[in-house]
């Protein structure tokens, strides 16, 4: 089971202030930009949703293919957004539909 995830903290003006890529999957060359694109695009939804709910953790707010984006919104509207992807190696492919 390989995973890939990217965690970015975004300040109020959509400026990324921290960026970390984690996960066990072998890193693709364009992984960094792909994550940035996905997370950047998710900001639209966060901005809509953050003001309509009192919850700070917005789970699975957006998805792109099999990447799921979740957001933690702080009181100061700093966003900690994270996308996560789990995929099985084709060889093993055990538990799953």
């Amino acid at each position: 089971m390989a995973t890939t995830a990217c965690f970015i903290i975004v300040s109020r003006n959509d400026i990324p202030i921290y960026e970390a890529e984690v996960g066990s999957a072998t890193k693709r060359e364009d992984a960094a930009q792909m994550h940035q694109f996905i997370l950047h695009a998710a900001l639209d939804l966060v901005q809509d949703l953050a003001w309509t709910t009192s919850a700070m953790y917005l789970k699975a707010i957006d998805r792109f293919n099999d990447m799921v984006v979740s957001v933690y919104v702080t009181a100061g509207h700093i966003l900690c957004i994270c996308d996560f992807k789990c995929y099985r190696d084709k060889k093993t492919g055990e538990n799953g539909e």
């Binding site: 990324p16 060359e29 930009q33 940035q36 694109f37 950047h40 900001l43 639209d44």
Partner: protein, 1288 residues
């Protein structure tokens, strides 16, 4: 809003309409092609009725009028599912054409996102999307699972030229030519037939007669047709009736005929036919399916069919099956606008198909239900649910349902768009992206526009989907489309701090522009990604390589304002220039200005404002503003140092780095100045990009004008992540105002970058080298260039960087003046006179170190140096001019170990009084490391037996690492001291030199030979340095002692004394030593010194440590002389012993001294013990170094002896003779008093039980004596042991 008027409504009214199958003979087509039209093309324009106004009655009894109606005409060969590949090819062509058409836009400026948002909906998405979507919908027409594409009627067309037209009509409707739909039993083959005879008027002979004849023939055929097929279903259509020659036509000459034909066909045949069919089918359906009983029956019957094996399409339904009939009923009702009826039938059939697992049909029905709900404008939720259901069901079918899903999705999207649910529409677009790249590229692009149109606009998603779409376009080689989408994306991502996104977008669009050969635009985008320090090394290489390739292909040199490679750190900007302050070396500028100021304080003429006052001449001419400007001198370089940083991991090469400067004459500066200040403001808001704006032209102009100054060019190469300090100079040649505008450089030999200081300094502080920013920083880069002036250049030759402490060296100061004008009134000051002493002119050519040696004829200084406040004034006739350098001797001595920053300032005035500056200063700075060498310490203790003589112990430790040092000579300073060795040197110091780490002690006898003189005291610091010296070199050496009384040793010694200045009172009775040593030549470390070296070590104000009986506390000192042991035969008599006491008065006053001998009883008296304890005698006992050496401290163990004595010595002794003696002593004189004791028994006696009372009587003219020294006091005797032994 009327659903029929929405885009989707219009689309449905156009697309879901009755199909008319057209069967024609080749001759018909031939006739039509004369007009370059096919038969269908000829008829189609007349098939759209906006206001047909036909009454329709379907299931209900109430008729309604149908207004809008369309017919779709197809040849029989086209009534089949289109070939997917062909359809794809056609779509691709559509896209390519659209791309070509749009290509003109690619060169225009980037759209601004705010403009995009402001533009109307129709402007946002390209026009061809609609067309594309329509084409896409049509790829799935004529499916067997839905009935609205099934032909409602059949138009049989035969030309009048055809032979046996009636037979032709029959032949046309021949089953083997008919589409499979009819043949396979999918639809009822018994459809409405309409027969048309086409008559071409141009056929036949050209004469009118013949023409008429043929027309008659056609009419005849028509009559025959009417007989055969019935009178209603036959028509005659005459075409090409106008003559060939006839040019002018009516607007639509044949329209009325065709229009009438079609209208009649529609209103009189097709619509009634459909009405009729709807009614019939409705009755059938009602009979079999409606009602509770039928439903139960149906359910039961369906269940029974469950054993039928599942196929993807479910069971086969023929046209006669009730399911097909319901579907046909629904579709006809829909086409006739009876949506209620359609919906009820769709609902009915939907459950059936679901139970039968006929998924495709089920999806098709669901789709129609959704559309019907929409047309009814009720239950939006239901409509959407149906559409989604249909969409998902189609998708579940896999590839066979893909096209249908697309169509369904497009309709669904239109439905959502109608309701302004753009966000949802966008997700649907995303979902209909198929495997096929081109298709999904278009869909993603449409999705992005939906995000843009949603409220509020979702720009992040807009950009993302544009990028996704662009990537797919690129993969399909649709570069122009790819660029178009990325261009829009750039407008979203412009200036984003999301670095990877920005890099991706700009890099790719740049690359694609490069493919298209639009290199200028390509370079603009590529420039954005150059500073990609966050990327991996390979990516950086890729970016840079592609960038350079494009630049190379462009074949010209680009000029770029604010090129990002390398990064220029404006805060590192340092400006070095010389006004009246000049610098000997670059290092001099690193010293703080305050240090220089304090040095120059005494030399520079004091002026109210040092900065502008020497500009008095111009101050009237110049506007006030210029007073704030810096001054520089024509012909003298201004240096700029700035950091160039390579942000990448790969090396880059920078060439031709130079300054951009501008020099204007003072008179026109006023107007220029205003212009430039404006330019600065402009520059600050200009953005990165190619150099094509006004400012850049401006810069180019400035660069071109280089006649009035010269500047340096530097080439550097920066490794990965490296920062280089680049030093640039500009030398103005003429007077005026010089402004340093910026820097230019060439990246990899192909791109010229500009960096304007003005534009950036507005935000950032400029740190000038030597000056705090007090005013606007722009002014710091502006200089008033004044007329060329003399400038002294100075250097100190051979000043060592490293030296051992005490190192003495002869140096030469070299001064040069390149200009033709002379300078005068030179002054000089050093920051550390201990280290650097200014010599006499005649010292210039002396031989060192021979000059240090004592000369036979010692003369007074012929030319005493002019030094006031440490400022050395050069002789007045001393001027420097022209090529010949002038020299002045300097003496250097490394005074103390450590790191020393040595500053020398030379002040000079201009010989030419008319020049703008009256004086300048030359600042020299040297850094010096002084290593420890010999550590010398002196200890002085009084000689126990002699007055005014002292024992001096000198401890020397060699603290160098490797050097061997020979100790040469020890001298005392001042005439009142004489020093001599206690023992010959070769006995105590045979090895002659000290190796590293070795310590050495040596004893000397120091004799005070001060003569009475009151003047000496006051001038002790400047007393003639006639000292006495001891050579420490063994006799074999013939070296003459060094002369410590002449320069430079004496000068340095004065400095040392000043350094350790103490009060005059304390200075009295102290002694200064100078130790001269030389490193052994064989052992000299390379780099530190050369052959002739002399170290001098100065110890000032040494004093004796035990202050018990010398003049330091009391002016009276004495010594008791007498035997120490005596043999006496006590059997005969008691023993008489004579003693002599020598008393010395070291004060300048007359002293009267009273000596009292005490009785024996006082011995062991606790009070005397206490006095002894408090008298200060004990201080010396605890000195550790002394206690080690019993030899020179004979009284060290006194306490023990004394204690033992006090208990043991029972046999007393008595002082014989007078018990009190009074003497008068003149100043600085001594006298001797005889004393006698009588001892009665053998033993050891302490002869200390006497007291001296002294009293000073001031001599004439010395009233202040009492103030300085105690005027009277009592001293008890010091221990003096006498052992008397019985003689045998």
């Amino acid at each position: 809003m009327d659903p029929a008027k929405t885009p989707l409504g219009k689309m449905l009214l156009e697309e879901i309409t009755p199909v008319v199958m057209v069967l024609r003979t080749p001759l018909v087509e031939e006739s039509c092609l004369k007009n370059s039209l096919s038969f269908i093309e000829m008829l189609t324009p007349f098939c759209n009725f906006h206001n047909i106004d036909v009454p329709v009655r379907t299931s209900s009894d109430q008729p309604y009028r149908l207004q809008k109606f369309n017919l779709r005409l197809f040849y029989e060969s086209d009534i089949k599912q289109p070939n997917l590949e062909v359809a794809k090819e056609r779509l691709k062509q559509v896209i390519t054409e659209a791309g070509e058409r749009d290509s003109s836009e690619l060169c225009t400026d980037l759209p601004d996102i705010s403009n995009v948002l402001a533009s109307s909906k129709s402007e946002i998405s390209p026009f061809w999307f609609e067309f594309f979507n329509k084409e896409l919908v049509r790829t799935v027409s004529f499916s067997e699972h839905e009935a609205f594409d099934h032909p409602v009627a059949c138009l049989l067309v035969v030309s009048s030229k055809d032979e046996q037209p009636i037979n032709k009509f029959v032949d046309l409707f021949n089953t083997n030519k008919l589409p499979s739909l009819l043949n396979d039993g999918e639809m009822d083959p018994k459809i409405l037939k309409h027969y048309v005879l086409v008559h071409d008027n141009q056929d036949g002979p050209s004469e009118k007669y013949g023409c008429l004849h043929f027309l008659v023939m056609a009419t005849k055929i028509l009559a025959e047709m009417k007989n055969t097929f019935g009178s209603n279903g036959c028509d005659l259509l005459c075409i090409n009736s106008s003559q060939v020659e006839q040019i002018e036509h009516q607007d639509n000459p044949w329209a009325p005929y065709i229009k009438d034909l079609i209208q009649e066909l529609t209103s009189k045949h097709i619509i009634p036919y459909m009405e009729q069919k709807v009614r019939v089918l409705n009755q059938q359906v009602s009979a079999t399916r409606k009602g509770f009983r039928n439903q139960i029956k149906n359910l039961w019957w369906r269940k029974g069919k469950e054993d039928i094996p599942d196929s993807s399409n479910g069971p086969m339904y023929t046209y006669s099956s009730i399911e097909s009939q319901i579907r046909v009923l629904g579709d006809y009702a829909f086409m006739l606008g009876d949506y209620e009826l359609a919906l009820s039938n769709y609902r009915l059939i939907s459950t059936d198909y679901k139970i039968d697992k006929a998924w495709k049909r089920y999806a098709g029905v669901q789709e129609m239900m959704g559309l019907t709900y929409f047309m009814l404008d009720q239950s939006r939720k239901e409509a959407e649910y149906c559409m989604e259901n249909a969409f998902n069901t189609y998708l579940k079918l896999g590839s066979s349902g893909q096209q249908n899903a697309t169509r369904c999705g497009l309709w669904w999207i239109e439905m959502l768009k109608t309701r302004d649910q753009y966000k949802e529409a966008a997700t649907v677009y995303f979902r209909i992206c198929s495997e096929e790249l081109l298709h999904s590229a278009v869909m993603l692009e449409q999705a992005s526009y939906c995000y843009l149109l949603s409220q509020p606009p979702m720009l992040h998603k807009y950009g993302f989907h544009l990028v996704l779409s662009g990537d797919r376009y690129k993969k399909c080689d649709q570069i122009k489309h790819a660029i178009r989408t990325y261009r829009s994306a750039v407008s979203v991502y412009k200036g984003t701090p999301w670095s990877y996104i920005k890099d991706h977008v700009h890099f790719h669009i740049g690359q694609w522009y490069g493919f298209l050969g639009m290199y200028d635009v390509a370079v603009t985008h590529m420039l954005e990604v150059l500073a990609c320090s966050h990327q991996s090394k390979t990516t950086q290489e890729l970016f840079l390589r592609d960038f350079l390739q494009i630049v190379q292909k462009a074949g010209k040199t680009f000029e770029v304002l604010s090129l990002q490679l390398p990064v220029i750190n404006i805060s590192s900007l340092k400006v070095f220039f010389e006004d009246h302050r000049t610098y000997a070396s670059p290092g001099s500028t690193s010293v703080r200005e305050s240090v220089w100021r304090s040095l120059e304080e005494d030399m520079v003429p004091s002026l109210p404002s040092t900065r502008t006052n020497w500009l008095e001449l111009q101050s009237n001419l110049l506007p006030k503003r210029y007073k704030e400007l810096n001054i520089c001198v024509a012909g003298e370089a201004i240096k700029i140092a700035i950091d160039f940083k390579n942000p990448l991991e790969i090396p880059i090469s920078i060439s031709s780095v130079s300054l951009i400067c501008e020099l204007s004459a003072i008179s026109d500066e006023t107007k220029y100045g205003a212009y430039y200040f404006n330019a600065d403001v402009d520059a600050s808001c200009s953005t990165a990009g190619l150099c094509n704006d006004e400012e850049c032209n401006n810069l180019r102009e400035i660069i071109a004008d280089t006649s009035s100054f010269s500047f340096s060019e530097v080439n550097i190469s920066l490794g990965g992540g490296e920062t280089n300090l680049v030093q640039l100079t500009v030398t103005p040649k003429v007077e005026g105002i010089l402004k340093i505008v910026g820097i230019r450089w060439k990246l990899s030999g192909s791109v010229i970058g500009f960096f304007s200081f003005g534009s950036n300094t507005v935000k950032k502080q400029v740190a000038t080298g030597r000056r705090k920013v007090k005013h606007s920083p722009g002014n710091d880069l502006k200089f008033i260039v004044i007329k060329s002036l003399p400038k002294l250049e100075g250097s100190i030759r051979a000043l060592p960087e490293k030296a051992y402490a005490g190192h003495l060296q002869h140096l030469v100061l070299e001064l040069k003046n390149q200009s033709e004008f002379s300078v005068k009134n030179l002054k000089m000051k050093t920051s550390h006179p201990r280290f650097l002493n200014i010599g006499n002119q005649e010292d210039l050519n002396v031989e060192f170190p021979a000059c240090l040696e004592k000369k036979t004829n010692v003369t007074a200084h012929a030319n005493p140096k002019k030094i006031s406040h440490g400022v050395f004034l050069f002789p007045e006739d001393f001027s420097v001019q022209g090529e010949n350098p002038l020299f002045w001797p300097l003496w250097f001595r490394a005074a103390v170990p450590g790191n020393i920053s040595l500053q020398v300032v030379i002040y000079y005035e201009m010989g030419d009084l008319s020049s703008d500056m009256r004086y300048r200063t030359l600042r020299m700075h040297y850094n010096l490391q002084v290593l420890p060498s010999l550590d010398v310490s002196f200890k002085i203790s009084p000689c126990p037996s002699r007055l005014q003589e002292f024992l001096v112990r000198m401890d020397v430790v060699n603290k160098t690492n490797s050097e061997s040092i020979q100790v040469n000579q020890l001298s005392t300073i001042g005439s009142q001291w004489e020093i001599s060795l206690l023992q010959p040197i070769d006995t105590i110091f045979p090895s002659e030199s000290l190796i590293a780490g070795q310590a050495f002690s040596c004893f000397f006898m120091l004799k005070s030979c001060r003569k009475s003189s009151s003047t000496e005291e006051n001038t002790s610091s400047l007393s003639p340095r006639i000292g006495s010296s001891v050579s420490l070199v063994p006799d074999g050496s013939k070296e003459a002692p060094f002369d410590i009384s002449s320069s430079p040793l004496a000068d340095f010694h004065d400095c040392e004394r000043l350094q350790h200045r103490i009060s005059d009172q304390e200075a009295e009775n102290t002694v200064d030593f100078i130790l001269i040593s030389r490193p052994l030549k064989s052992n000299i470390e390379p780099g530190i010194s050369d052959a002739y070296h002399v170290f001098s070590h100065h110890a000032c104000h040494c004093r004796q440590e035990c202050a018990n009986f010398t003049a330091s506390t009391s002016p009276i000192s004495w010594v008791v002389h007498g035997p120490q042991t005596r043999h006496h035969d006590f059997s005969t008599s008691y023993c008489e012993i004579n003693l002599r006491m020598t008393i010395y008065n070291s004060s300048n006053a007359l002293a009267s001294i009273d000596i009292k001998t005490l009785g024996t009883t006082s011995i062991g008296d606790p009070s005397s013990d206490a006095t002894a304890a408090t008298s200060g005698n004990q201080v010396g006992w605890h000195d550790v170094s002394l206690s080690n050496d019993v030899k020179i401290a004979p009284d060290a163990l006194r306490t023990h002896v004394r204690k033992s004595l006090s208990s043991e010595s029972v046999s007393p002794f008595i002082w014989s003779g007078s018990s009190s003696t009074r003497v008068q002593l003149k100043p600085l004189s001594s006298t001797e008093i005889p004393l006698q004791i009588c001892v009665f028994s053998p033993g050891t006696y302490d002869l200390s039980n006497y007291v001296l009372n002294w009293n000073l009587q001031p001599v004439n003219g010395h009233k202040n004596v009492g103030d300085r020294i105690q005027s009277s006091g009592t001293i008890s005797g010091y221990p003096n042991y006498l052992t008397v032994l019985p003689s045998d």
